[in-house]
Symmetry: C2
Subunit: 350 residues, 2 copies
Amino acid sequence: ADIVVLPGDGIGPEVTAAAVEVLRAVGRRYGHQFTLNEHLIGGAAIDASGEPLPAATLSACQRADAVLLGAVGGPKWSDPKAKVRPEQGLLALRKGLGLYANLRPVQPHAATLGASPIKPHLLAGVDMIVVRELTGGIYFGQKQRSETSASDLCEYSVEEIERVVRRACQLARGRRQHVVSVDKANVLETSRLWREVATRIARDEFPDITLEHQLVDSMAMHLIAKPRAFDVIVTENMFGDILTDEASMLAGSLGLLPSASLGEGKVGLYEPIHGSAPDIAGRGIANPCGTILSAAMLLRHSLGLNAEAECIEQAVAAVLEAGVLTADLAPAGQAVGTRAVTDAVLAQLE
Amino acid sequence: ADIVVLPGDGIGPEVTAAAVEVLRAVGRRYGHQFTLNEHLIGGAAIDASGEPLPAATLSACQRADAVLLGAVGGPKWSDPKAKVRPEQGLLALRKGLGLYANLRPVQPHAATLGASPIKPHLLAGVDMIVVRELTGGIYFGQKQRSETSASDLCEYSVEEIERVVRRACQLARGRRQHVVSVDKANVLETSRLWREVATRIARDEFPDITLEHQLVDSMAMHLIAKPRAFDVIVTENMFGDILTDEASMLAGSLGLLPSASLGEGKVGLYEPIHGSAPDIAGRGIANPCGTILSAAMLLRHSLGLNAEAECIEQAVAAVLEAGVLTADLAPAGQAVGTRAVTDAVLAQLE
Ligand SMILES: CC(C)[C@H](C(=O)O)[C@@H](O)C(=O)O
Ligand SMILES: CC(C)[C@H](C(=O)O)[C@@H](O)C(=O)O
């Protein structure tokens, strides 16, 4: 299998390096040949070529079976007047590969409840997956700027909503048959369309699935007040961005959470939900688990290697259980670095 | 002083009735004459007149010293194809009165920490106020709808950003001199303008204030992970809507939180941040504290009656401390109703 690796910026190179080691170890153990090729994206690509998504990177990704990405962005490229930004590379890649469904599972581990700001009794049994629409909405609508004002257009087509709601309902079939769709239908026209389409798809195509609607403001509350109530959550691009960062607190750290971005084609993009964390980049202290678990999602969703995916997930769980934790999770004075966590995961895989 | 009361829908009439009793009691105690007149808004106004904000209501509000509102909306008026919605009345009122700054203070009480999903040690000393821009952004931009798609325009002018950031910085002067501005400047053009303007206003006009920027996704995390880090938070309309509902969990219940909406004119609008809660309407179990505390903000911000405002705030604190709690806050089996909480507050005011 042909896997493109996009380290990107900040801690991206450190965490993807860890995940690549894990992929190689799993390949050895199960006798698979993974071809891993690195390409440039984000700020690193801007520095090298002036563009956040060089054509060579996009075409390598289009030909690959799967893409593993670290993170993009950082203060070096964040001047508000900059013409070109690292984030544009990531957005163009998601769009270019047609990856409209971003799956973000949240399953707190017993070992990391201490790091969560949420009371532990609320977290037992939490097991949700957010399906974030990834190639539409205000991220991709027309942007305008004048001397005195600025605007962003939020747009959704019926088809864009249908396909992501379908994906969420399909996922729910393999889970607890429960989907919560999040919108702001009491104010936004796009949300009213979203609600209509979601209602119709669930009713006509998924009579076995229970669909509920929540307003995004309410959801920001319920997500932490009664997290066990959720199974599959489906929402538009920006709401999904906000709610999944919030939901990461259920798991104790953003650094733990993986994601898979899928479309109709075979290629999927796998990335941790954390950012490039420039403040800790290069110090060897980043949590590699989000990226390692993204590699597990890659094996499952793009390569159909379920046993191998589970093997990685169990390895990470065992390492957390053993208290081998980076600074985002460890009690004061007990943190280890990226290298130690990666080695502990590799040891589990032997 | 001339106060317009807009009960609205759902639990709105119950909670405003409680707050009106409290206002009258404070008036008696301090020898003030408050003239309180009720008008229609929201679904109740649609039912009576076909319009969510009748002209008589708007003009009464324009002439008043202050407006106290319950909540609007409910399933009765929520058909996605409805031509007219209760929420439009509230949005038109905010816009019609020029109330661009919505102040939402969050200060957990020791007595209600048990009801919060957040670990208590994170909540000690939390004291923040969110300044939500209230008359711009995607709530008010052009909306379009066709057979196959829908759109909402998010727009901000330099002036709209300047005035709300100024208000936030002024507030911070009376507090801990610290403002966090929240945007999504790595993706949105409106956010980049927001960040530029906020930076300039703070630098040129408020050299005594420390301004920081946070991305909205990150903020959704930090708000619950390290709530003590925040003093004044300023953000655009929809981000403020989402983040304040989330922040309400710090206080234990949405039902506790008041808000003040202010503009350049003398009239302010005061409303709890909760909605119309149609599921519990008419049952006498709604928490009146958010509206009672909104009445306190009304006395402070519109009438300059600071001692009277504090008197109400202390009364509510004492009632919470005494464990007189509605179902949203009480341990199982120990909840009392709206009437009992209101009576307990009134008793404190005698
Ligand atoms: C880097 C940024 C463009 C991105 C997003 O908002 O989609 C990130 O926050 C994420 O959630 O993957
Ligand atoms: C009712 C609705 C329009 C309103 C809003 O989103 O502004 C409410 O959620 C609020 O926060 O006051």
